[in-house]
Each structure stands twice: as C-alpha cells, then as structure tokens.
C-alpha cells in the first residue's frame, strides 16, 4: 500500500478527481494549502504599497492506494494537472504500513 500526496493548482482539482475516479480510485482527502517551490510568490499593490506574497494557494490531495494503482494514478494526475507552466505542483509517494476501516474493522487493502 502507498500513500500518495499530490499538490496541484486549485483549478485542476475537479479534473484530478474525475481522472482518479475513472481508474477506480474512489476516495480522497483534500486540503487547501499554501506553499512555494520554483514558482515563488506574487506581488500585491495597495495604494502604492507593494507586498510580495511568498506563498501560492494550492490544493493538496491525499489518496491511500494499492501498489498496483500507483503507476496509473501518477499517469492520470500528470495528464490532467499539467499546464506546462511553472507551478503545476508535485506528487509524493510513500509507503503505507496499515489502514483500517473504522466501521467494519477491516484492515489492509480491503480497507482502502
């Protein structure tokens, strides 16, 4: 099992959800987050006072998936979340030791 974290542009969230659903990934957790990588921030101007806002708004999507879903999920996210411009985001994959469905007590891949 793997935990996959994708940071994408906020306007791409719906496309990413649809693409993941199409390959059978039916659950996810989403957060609105702020951060920066190579894109850096933007400037805001209020009556001549210019402020550099260093953090960009992004959406963080977390999905817990089986090992064989990793490659299709990466492919699906990269395909729909890419604009070709700086700031498209990143995907991180890490091992997932255990998962439990609280209602039934199922564990492992059955609980995904």
């Amino acid at each position: 099992m793997k935990m996959m974290t994708a940071i994408v542009k906020p306007f791409k969230l719906d496309d990413v959800r649809d693409a993941l659903q199409q390959i059978g990934i039916t659950g996810m957790t989403v957060e609105e987050v702020k951060g920066y990588g190579r894109q850096k921030g933007h400037t805001e101007l209020y009556r001549g006072a210019e402020y550099v806002v260093e953090f960009q708004p992004k959406v963080k999507i977390q999905i817990a998936i089986s090992d064989d879903q990793v490659e299709p999920a990466i492919e699906a996210i990269c395909k729909v979340a890419s604009t070709g411009k700086i700031g498209d985001g990143k995907i991180f994959v890490s091992p997932l030791e255990q998962s439990i469905r609280i209602r039934t007590g199922e564990t492992g891949e059955e609980a995904l």
């Binding site: 805001e44 209020y46 009556r47 001549g48 550099v52």
Partner: protein, 438 residues
C-alpha cells in the same frame, strides 16, 4: 409678522423649490430649503457612520477593525456634545452680534440662543446648528486614518476634543462664520480648507509625531476586508451630495449645480486613479478606484459652489492623478506612515480644489466657466491669491496647533500603545473584544 411667516411656509410647501425668499423677509423659514437641509444633515451623518467607518475598517488589519469603528463612533458622540457646548459658538457666534475676524462670540454656549423660533437665513437656526455639527463630526473622524492601529483610545478622545475646539472651530469661523478669510472673498463652498486641509494636515502631523506602525515598510499590512471599504466608499459618495449640495443652505440652482459637479468630479477622480494604476502597474485595482473617488470628492468640495460641469471634470481628473502621485511619494519616498493616506488624499485634494476653485470660477473660460469671482475681485490672479492665502493660513495654523496638542496629550496620557499591545491588536488590548469570531 407671525402670520406672514405662516403664509410663507404654506406657499413654500405648495410651490416647493420655485419659491425664492425675498430680501425683505430674510428672517422667515423656507419650507423647501428646510426640507433639503434636513435631508442633507442626515446624508452627512451617514458619511461618518457608517460610510467613513466602514471605509477605514476594511483598510486596517483584522485585529484592529473594531478600534477604528469605535474611534469613528465615539467621535460622532463626543464631537456632537462639544459642538453643543462650545464648538458652534466659537465657529458661528450668535445672532445679531458683529463677528470678529478670528473667533465667534460666546453667546451661543450650550446653544443658548437657539430656540424653536430662531431662524438662520431661510432655515431654522437649530437646523443650521445640527447641519454644521455633522461637519464637525466628520472632520476629526477623517484624521483617524493617520494614527490607525497604534493610538491609545483615551489619547485619541483627548486629542480630538481639544482639536475640535482649538483648530476646527476657529478655522470654520475664519471661512464661514464671518471671519477674516470669508471677508477676504475666499471661495470654499463646502470645506476644502475648513474640513479637508485641516484634517489632512493634522493627519500628516499626527503620523510624524507618533511614528510609523511597527514593521511599516517591511511587514505586509494589506487591507483585511476591501469589501467593507468599497461599501463604505459608496456610502461616502452618496452622503457627499448632502455635504456639498447641502452647503448651498438652500434648495436652489446652486445646490443642484453643486450636486452635478460633485458627481462628475467623483467619477473622474475614480477613473483617473484607475488609469494611473493600469498604466504604471499593469492592472486597475478596486482600492485604487475608490481612493480616486474620494480624491475627486474631496477636491471638488471647496469648488462645488464655484465651478461648472466642465471645470469639475478637469478638477476630478487632476485630483485622481495628483493625489495618486502624492500617496506614492509620502509612503515610498518620505516613508511617513499616514496609515490610511489621509493627507495625500484629503489634504492634497483640499489644497488642489481650493486653488482650482480660484481658476474655474472665472466666467471667461468658455465651456470651462464657473460662477464668477468674489465681490471686489476681477481676475483669476486676484482670486488665486485669496485662495492661496486661505490654504497657507489653514495649513500653517493647523500644523502648529496640532503639533502642540499632540505633545500635550502625549505628556498627559501617552499617545501610543506599547509594542506588545500593538502586535496583539487594539481590539483585544483596548476593548477586550474581537471583530471576528470565525
């Protein structure tokens, strides 16, 4: 006499604005005039609460939103009481008394000479007193923008109370109360000098005496809620019709023309500021637009009884451009933290408008002609000299006296909160409450 007055009132009610009060009957109430000034009084109060209050509240950080709302609200109450006690009589004196050049006589302390019967021009004296009271409210409230986010509430009340009686009321007398500037022929219809120059100059002096907010120039201090600011700006625009058109103290052509030129100038100021940002920064901003609107309104204020529509367009456009540069210069070159830009918008606008009134009042400018020079003046140069005298005298007097009052209040109660309190925010530190619980 009494019967005649009743007949006049009935006729006025029937004929509305068409009735012009006769010179021989100067001491009778005109119903149309009275109705319009009653309305204007409500409009000008509406400018401060909630107009200016919301305008300012949106511009500060969320931890200080209640502090500026409370400053505006408390000033509304306190200035009203002071105007009743002494402000009005210092500015306007009492009926039938020869007025001196500097301050009014003290016959109207506690409105002693004002009854239900007393008349001022063609409106009840009580109405003139309360109309002028709303001006005495908004002028100190404008200064709030300069020392926002760092002044102690007690110091703010003490400063504003002294300032109303020692700066606003005397300058009001000089211009409108029978004082020396009015006698010279200064054209200041609705308060370019009396309101905007006094408030603007007091603002920049206060910003310099108090020093900048912690982190000014390095820490971002963006407005916390521009929707409040834009809502407040819309209220200011509407209320300003009472401010300027009400200053005709009549429901007549002068009032209507004042409303027309006020509206045009506001529109032009907003568009001009928007274009300046678009050209120089690449994008037009909402805050820029409403700031330009206030600049256009403040600048036309002294000229609103002097100029025609085409003159108002020039005044509005120049207000948007000049106040834009003034704001940038004060903040980025001089590094003065006049936090909500009171001086570059109101002070510079008031000066510009008072001077341009002296130009566009001329009847010799074709399409750009206005309503004529003051009695005894026959050239733009002559009128401009009077206008410049009014500006310089108001500027110098306000600057010196405001500085003295601030030093005095600093010694009495201390002007600023300490660094820790300023970082926490005035809402919690001074009022034990928060504007938002989200």
């Amino acid at each position: 006499m009494k019967n005649t007055r009743k007949i006049t009132i009935v006729s006025a009610a029937l004929l509305g604005a068409a009735l012009v009060s006769g010179g021989a009957q100067a001491q009778s109430v005109n119903g149309a005039d009275t109705a319009w000034i009653l309305t204007s009084t409500a409009l000008v109060l509406f400018m401060t609460i909630p107009g200016l209050s919301l305008f300012y509240a949106g511009l500060v950080r969320s931890k200080n939103v209640l502090s500026v709302l409370m400053q505006c609200f408390a000033l509304t109450c306190l200035m009203s009481l002071l105007w009743f006690a002494a402000g009005y009589t210092i500015a306007f004196g009492s009926d039938g008394v020869e007025q001196g050049p500097l301050i009014g006589d003290f016959g109207n302390l506690f409105f002693a000479g004002i009854s239900i019967e007393s008349v001022n021009g063609t409106i009840p004296a009580s109405l003139f007193a309360v109309f002028q009271m709303t001006f005495a409210i908004i002028t100190p409230a404008l200064i709030v923008g300069a020392f926002a986010e760092r002044m102690r509430f007690s110091a703010m009340l003490t400063f504003s109370a002294i300032w109303l009686l020692v700066v606003y009321a005397p300058v009001c007398h000089w211009v409108w109360g029978g004082g020396w500037l009015g006698d010279m022929g200064l054209q200041d219809f609705a308060g370019g000098t009396v309101v905007h120059v006094t408030a603007g100059v007091a603002a920049v002096v206060a910003a310099m005496v108090m020093g900048p907010r912690r982190g000014f120039g390095s820490v971002p201090m963006p407005p916390h809620n521009l929707t409040l600011t834009v809502a407040g700006a819309g209220m200011l625009w509407v209320g300003w019709f009472g401010f300027n058109a009400g200053s005709a103290v009549a429901a007549d052509g002068s009032a209507a023309m004042a409303m027309l030129v006020t509206h045009l100038s506001a529109s032009c100021g907003a568009l001009a500021w928007m274009l300046m940002e678009w050209l120089r920064h690449g994008k037009p901003s909402m805050l820029g637009m409403v700031t330009g609107m206030v600049a256009g309104l403040g600048t036309i204020t002294p000229a609103s009884g002097s100029v025609g529509p085409a003159g108002a367009v020039v005044i509005g456009l120049s207000a948007g451009v000049i106040c834009y540069f003034a704001t940038n210069y004060l903040k980025n070159a001089l590094k003065i933290d006049d936090s909500l830009d009171v001086f570059p918008v109101h002070g510079v606008g008031g000066i510009l408008g008072t001077l341009l009134a002296g130009v566009f009042c001329s009847t010799q400018l074709g399409l750009f002609s206005g309503n004529g020079f003051s009695d005894g003046i026959d050239s733009i140069g002559g009128q401009l000299t009077v206008q410049a005298t009014g500006v310089l005298a108001t500027f110098a007097y306000t600057a010196v006296v405001t500085w003295v009052i601030l030093k005095l209040v600093d010694a009495m109660v201390g002007l600023r909160v300490n660094d820790e309190e300023e970082t926490m925010g005035l809402d919690l530190v001074l009022h034990d409450e928060r504007g938002y619980d989200l």
